[in-house]
């Protein structure tokens, strides 16, 4: 929208108002994060009595306490043990399902696609109690394996929907050439289709990573022993504890540990994330 039109005084004023508002909003959004980051290097004293000044001395010890005594290191390890396999299998199954749904016509194709689409409408809340009992009777309640299965199930609908759309846009010539050269269906999929789908897979991988990183209610219900907690759950547990034992600087360090990876991932991959966020909402 770089069209030039004659600037009157009133439009200049409107421009200024818009910029002031945008700057103010940006500040409102960024400030709490910076404040947490700065506070994580302070002493408890400084947080309470001089909340607006930078720390006199960088208290790296806050991070050591958060990592060790407050178990953030263990929670991080647990989170990765759950999220990495969950993302890997989500991507693998979604790519397979999306590819077949987009490229092969067979009776029931639409039915399966709409079944996946219906899964997107299904709120976590509705399945919470049944899931708990299902996992209990399968003896995988309070285990990372159980949570991985649930995460995969919940990530599949949207990821399949996205990948189906993605595979429809891929050029057919390459696939036809591979078939003519005598590739089997498996070779075709793993050696031609997967490398071509890299962009879409990266988008969905990051999108699901952020979703699982922030997931709170599922681990809260499905993981009960504190040694198995994931980060979000551990952080809420820690925040709750601070009502009785006040190690606020340690808590801020813990928040920083949880916050930084997502911020870094977001800054690096913002284009892919935005594509993931908007694909379901926009046509084309």
């Amino acid at each position: 929208m770089n069209l030039e039109y004659k600037r009157s005084l009133s439009s200049t004023i409107i421009q200024i108002v818009i910029y002031v508002f945008l700057a103010f909003w940006a500040l409102v959004v960024i400030f709490p994060m910076i404040w947490v980051l700065v506070s994580s290097f302070k002493t408890d004293q400084e947080i309470f009595f001089s909340p607006w000044t930078p720390p006199a001395k960088l208290m790296w010890d806050n991070f050591a306490r958060a990592w060790g005594k407050a178990n953030m290191g263990r929670y991080l390890f647990n989170t990765l043990t759950v999220n990495l396999p969950a993302i890997f299998f989500t991507l693998l199954f979604s790519a397979m399902a999306g590819y077949v749904l987009a490229r092969y016509s067979f009776p029931g194709n639409r039915l399966i696609f709409y079944a996946f689409l219906g899964g997107m409408l299904f709120p976590v809340m509705l399945a919470l109690v049944p899931l708990f009992f299902l996992l209990q009777s399968m003896k995988i309640i309070d285990s990372h394996f159980g949570l991985i299965l649930v995460y995969i199930a919940y990530s599949l609908p949207f990821t399949v929907f996205f990948m189906t759309g993605f595979f429809k846009t891929l050029p057919t010539e390459l696939l036809e050439a591979a078939i003519i050269d005598g590739a089997s269906h498996y070779q075709l999929f793993f050696q031609i289709v997967i490398p071509l789908a890299q962009n879409g897979l990266v988008s969905m991988g990051i999108f699901n990573f952020l979703g699982m990183w922030n997931q709170y209610i599922l681990p809260l219900v499905l993981l009960t022993s504190s040694t198995k907690y994931v980060l979000s759950q551990g952080l809420a547990f820690l925040a709750h504890q601070q009502r009785y034992q006040s190690d606020w600087s340690g808590l801020f360090a813990a928040i920083t540990i949880v916050m930084l990876p997502t911020l870094i991932v977001y800054v690096i991959f913002q284009n892919q994330i935005q594509r993931g966020l908007t694909v379901g909402a926009l046509k084309g």
Binding site: M1, L3, Y5, K6, S11, I14, W25, V28, V29, P32, L121, P123, V124, M125, L126, A127, L128, V129, P130, F132, F133, N214, Y216, I217, L220, V221, S232, A236, A239, R243, Q274, L277, T278, A281, L282, K283, G284
Partner: protein
């Protein structure tokens, strides 16, 4: 500073600065503020992507027809109607969740926490703290029907003739 702000909050019936999270009258608004802070970015990205998809020719045509700074209301906004509809449904569905934020921000079951209860936290409490699993499942089904009704209602009410481009 304190001279300035005391009368302001007294207008709304507070003695001094409200304890935002500790006062049953304000706790909901305090949580709402955090939700807005958290969600605004997503909708911004959504609308930005939608605006970038509007062809430049629409603006050129508007300029030729003599439009200037009112392009936003008369050109951009009507073309964003589909996105607006999606955003409304998203926001409506999001409003039925609110679990993590409510659960983390208030002490559940306390006198200040009660007014902040949402269906999701109540459901969790009934199921996993009071062990009333049947009741909790009934809440879940009611929640789902409410979400479905609201979404369909929103889509119906906001239906307009779509502009294809």
């Amino acid at each position: 500073m304190s001279v300035l702000r005391l009368p302001f909050f007294q207008l709304f019936g507070f003695e001094g600065i409200p304890v935002w999270m500790g006062d049953p009258r304000t706790v909901r608004y305090a949580i709402a503020a955090v939700v807005i802070w958290q969600a605004a970015g997503f909708y911004m990205v959504l609308f930005l992507a939608a605006m970038e998809a509007i062809p430049q020719s629409f603006y050129e045509a508007a300029i030729i027809d003599g439009a200037n700074r009112h392009q936003f209301w008369n050109v951009t906004l009507p073309l964003l109607w589909d996105t607006m509809q999606t955003a409304l449904v998203f926001a409506g569905l999001g409003a039925f969740d609110m679990f993590a934020i409510t659960r983390v921000m208030v002490i559940s079951g306390s006198s200040t926490g009660r007014p902040a209860d949402v269906l999701a936290t109540y459901l969790y409490e009934q199921a996993f703290e009071a062990s009333r699993f049947g009741y909790a499942t009934a809440i879940a089904v009611a929640l789902f029907l409410l979400m479905l009704t609201l979404s369909v209602f929103t889509m119906r009410v906001t239906r307009r003739e779509a502009v294809e481009y």
